[in-house]
Symmetry: D2
Amino acid sequence: MPVPAPNLYPDFNTIRLSHVCLNVSDLAASRTFYTDMFGLQVTDTSDSHVYLRALEERGHHSVILQKSDQPGTVEVMGFKTYDEADLDKAEVYFKSKGRPTSWVERPYQGRTLLTSDNMGIPLEFYHKMDRLAPIHQEYARYHGVRPLRIDHFNCFSNNVDESVAFYNDFGFRVTEYTEDEESGKLWAAWMHRKGGVHDMAFTNGKGPRMHHLAFWVANPLHIIDLLDVMATTGYVENIERGPGRHGISNAFFLYILDPDGHRIEIYSSDYQTVDPDHEPLKWDLKDPQRQTLWGAPAPRSWFEHGTEFVGAEVKEPALNATPIIAP
Amino acid sequence: MPVPAPNLYPDFNTIRLSHVCLNVSDLAASRTFYTDMFGLQVTDTSDSHVYLRALEERGHHSVILQKSDQPGTVEVMGFKTYDEADLDKAEVYFKSKGRPTSWVERPYQGRTLLTSDNMGIPLEFYHKMDRLAPIHQEYARYHGVRPLRIDHFNCFSNNVDESVAFYNDFGFRVTEYTEDEESGKLWAAWMHRKGGVHDMAFTNGKGPRMHHLAFWVANPLHIIDLLDVMATTGYVENIERGPGRHGISNAFFLYILDPDGHRIEIYSSDYQTVDPDHEPLKWDLKDPQRQTLWGAPAPRSWFEHGTEFVGAEVKEPALNATPIIAP
Amino acid sequence: MPVPAPNLYPDFNTIRLSHVCLNVSDLAASRTFYTDMFGLQVTDTSDSHVYLRALEERGHHSVILQKSDQPGTVEVMGFKTYDEADLDKAEVYFKSKGRPTSWVERPYQGRTLLTSDNMGIPLEFYHKMDRLAPIHQEYARYHGVRPLRIDHFNCFSNNVDESVAFYNDFGFRVTEYTEDEESGKLWAAWMHRKGGVHDMAFTNGKGPRMHHLAFWVANPLHIIDLLDVMATTGYVENIERGPGRHGISNAFFLYILDPDGHRIEIYSSDYQTVDPDHEPLKWDLKDPQRQTLWGAPAPRSWFEHGTEFVGAEVKEPALNATPIIAP
Amino acid sequence: MPVPAPNLYPDFNTIRLSHVCLNVSDLAASRTFYTDMFGLQVTDTSDSHVYLRALEERGHHSVILQKSDQPGTVEVMGFKTYDEADLDKAEVYFKSKGRPTSWVERPYQGRTLLTSDNMGIPLEFYHKMDRLAPIHQEYARYHGVRPLRIDHFNCFSNNVDESVAFYNDFGFRVTEYTEDEESGKLWAAWMHRKGGVHDMAFTNGKGPRMHHLAFWVANPLHIIDLLDVMATTGYVENIERGPGRHGISNAFFLYILDPDGHRIEIYSSDYQTVDPDHEPLKWDLKDPQRQTLWGAPAPRSWFEHGTEFVGAEVKEPALNATPIIAP
């Protein structure tokens, strides 16, 4: 059996995924994409950065757009801990795993620990972030796809078994997974902290790379609205896959690409997984309904394209198993 | 039986309701209400008028806001005929009924016949109106309640039997009606030309007055969106009744009031009534599900408030029957 | 310009498409598909036939399933006329066009004229059909995709220009069309009588064959519901294309195949076209958004598969132009 | 300030609300209401009990209907703990608060601790419940309002300040609350464990009594569907309030009554509250949008009717403040 038993008493308490910093080439174009078109809200802006939050979020930012000469890369993925002491415990923990650690200054965040996972994905942990006044009942702000909150990250890993073991060790619990029946190895896995299907997921492929970043929306119709807007405002080429229903996670989904090729999932539905004895669901790599419950396979780009992490070397996957790909 | 047999071969061919001219006190405030908040599109504007269309309409206007020293009155209701010859036939027809007729100049309209119905409601008929480029696939324009087209008028009549007989005579067909079981008289009736539940409806009350003007929207969720926006942008007092499902017409509805008290219905669903042998549905005035399928009665204002027509004397209703009213 | 001017004063008055008779191999399997899964209502049944209506229809049938040794063929397409006299005028009209005509007995229908169009598509016209009690407010019946009414037919024609000219002549009006820019010929056209985008459409291909039969549903979410049900009740292979938004007609669509290969479109949105001066919209065959506003091309089967009409010889198309097809 | 600081390190770890046992007079009638009409799934049944779960739940039951000679009372409210040891800690904890404790046998549950809160509400805690195979992708089962999971309890308390203090002490965190501005006392409060707006809420009134039990649904349209079904299958009188949007919690809601008068809320939306520093939102008792964002006040029954707990004496509320009530 490929999925490790959950570690219900991890060394430190990670509450949830929190934010991502994306390197972009044209700050104005990216801002237009994420705000005017997509519907995120600007919380601060400078010559080099745009800070964004979704409509129900009270933390200062869930996406940071950073002007960069390495556009199309990901600077760091952020997570929130339960308390300040968890940060110190996290430092000890990651050091014990042989990972680099340092304390970094981040605007609007309290003490922030920078480290990386076993594949080299840059991670940062904090407890405090500036809290902003709620805007979820300022309905005049709702437009685009009406994004309510950041939902999860999904990364290519060149060894999903190893990635899952690493995150499992500090308390991420597997909710669903895909096994390559031939090798008995994991092809993909979905892991959570906050009580939904995932905070972090891994997919077999050249890695580490970010596969996508996801936002939660309340209603499939908002996804249809977004498609209509994208299709008629010059973004039709940015639509990659969907809409559809995933077998895995049961979510109604759409995948789009931002101007630098960062992939965004818009994600509706999810289910509750707070029970510590919630059993993971297993899918077979060759089951076509795994990808899309309704049968349509994903395009090749979806299995191959991703955006690299700053400073993380990309390696070929250990597992050479092929999913069903659209012709 | 109170509903007359339909006149399948009327003297002239009215295609559909077309537009209304509303007298308002503050053109800027009304424009904000109908465009920024509600979602209609401006097609022309002057110091005294704002012309508006809904998102799938190609005719120049379906609502005209007219600055007036009689705000809260209705100037005229407009209808489109099948061809130019129908206008001349209509002139003959209304003259034969003893109604005043005149040919009037209307911007963006071709030859326009001004007349009035048996109760004094000012009506105008035209065949040609300037046609505009379609915008129904310019999805970036969609906001507010996403109004697609004008759907119908509803007027208080002081004698619904007489109003129905008058419109029936020139081809309007009853789809549903409410009978006062005691007197055997009509309390309300819905009449169509274009193949839906109604172009024009009448409700017993002090009349003639406009009860409401309705716009068709594709989805009940747009109505929920509008409520959320109105509730949080200073228009909560303009929400009068709903949301709910009418027993009559089976429509999902909401009633709101514009800044001058003109009532607007937002209307979703409807059904097809093009068959000439489509049987009208009868409802009992005392059936609470007639008003709202789910049981909640309408507030008193809904039965009493309306906006008067310019030049039409308002009379007490002939029928003194009381519907169920919210306490 | 390839689209003829509409004939606003045809020889007889066709109100709308009405019904279709489909030949099937296994009456029980087809009944399960159309009722339990899809949501149509049985109005009568025998050893050889099942009569079905959709939820807002009051006519006795809009689909007839007929047990046949030619399963996967279409017996006839039916249309309703405005009055009885129109049937006699239609007989004269079709005879004048050199088409065969006969009066046939059809259960639940009054006098019925059987004829065929210029390509050999069998058509029948009637004025009277048994009317049934309304069920559109019996909400416990709503399931499957909640089909409200039959919306349109779509047929392959081996010469779309000729098909359009033929139907235009008896009053069908073009609302949208696709032109092959090179030859200046029509590649597809949508034509209506009842005031929506179409009662009948034609697509270039081996013809005549039925491309699909469409039902109108109120909400895109019902289409998502149907996909979820089909995907988990053994019908995943019957899903052919979608969901998506058509550029043409602006409809939210899904295409599925019944057990005998008859294609069904589920169709939501449409717009009002009752104005006699409603201008047709032109699309370029090479515009990818014509097919799907969001960019995804249709699969090859969608351009090639259709079901033949009983007694109509299928011919190669005159026009050899290729649309964009999914790889 | 009336809301106590959250206790982030409670003596034992409650994961979430889990289930309720409702006493009913007619087991068959209640079963029909909760399954055929409402959409819950039966997991077991006997002469005296019906066990039910919602569509995404994997625990054996979230509602138990119990035939009783005290129909219209609530037997017990159940909660799940993080592990077995939490049960023993809970026993110590409730004893230390002077509450009665006992270990009870419950079918399908592991060790179960029965106790009661400071007002006498009977509570039970367990860690293990039989887990059933997932059915959330068996879409043919979805009907009624498509309930996905139990969401929260809401109880009348005769002293909301005291109730909030009691639950706060074992880790429930306040997300929103209503203050009586005059007295500075709490009029209502919403408290969670599982990361949403609430697992348990309290409202000022004769207490303790259950105000309602809530189920989470994915889409406001399912609520509209339920209203249509209830209105046309003999349950129109069971509709009490809604649909509407709460100011508090921002949820789209409907309240209905079961055959014994137990109130059920159907609840859509919610937001994520897992952050330990999530700030509670304060509402003024006199703010009409607190109840319903769109302005319509709740009916009197909503403030007065509730169902009693077995063995708990009902007392008059300490606070005599009046909300806005529909006339």
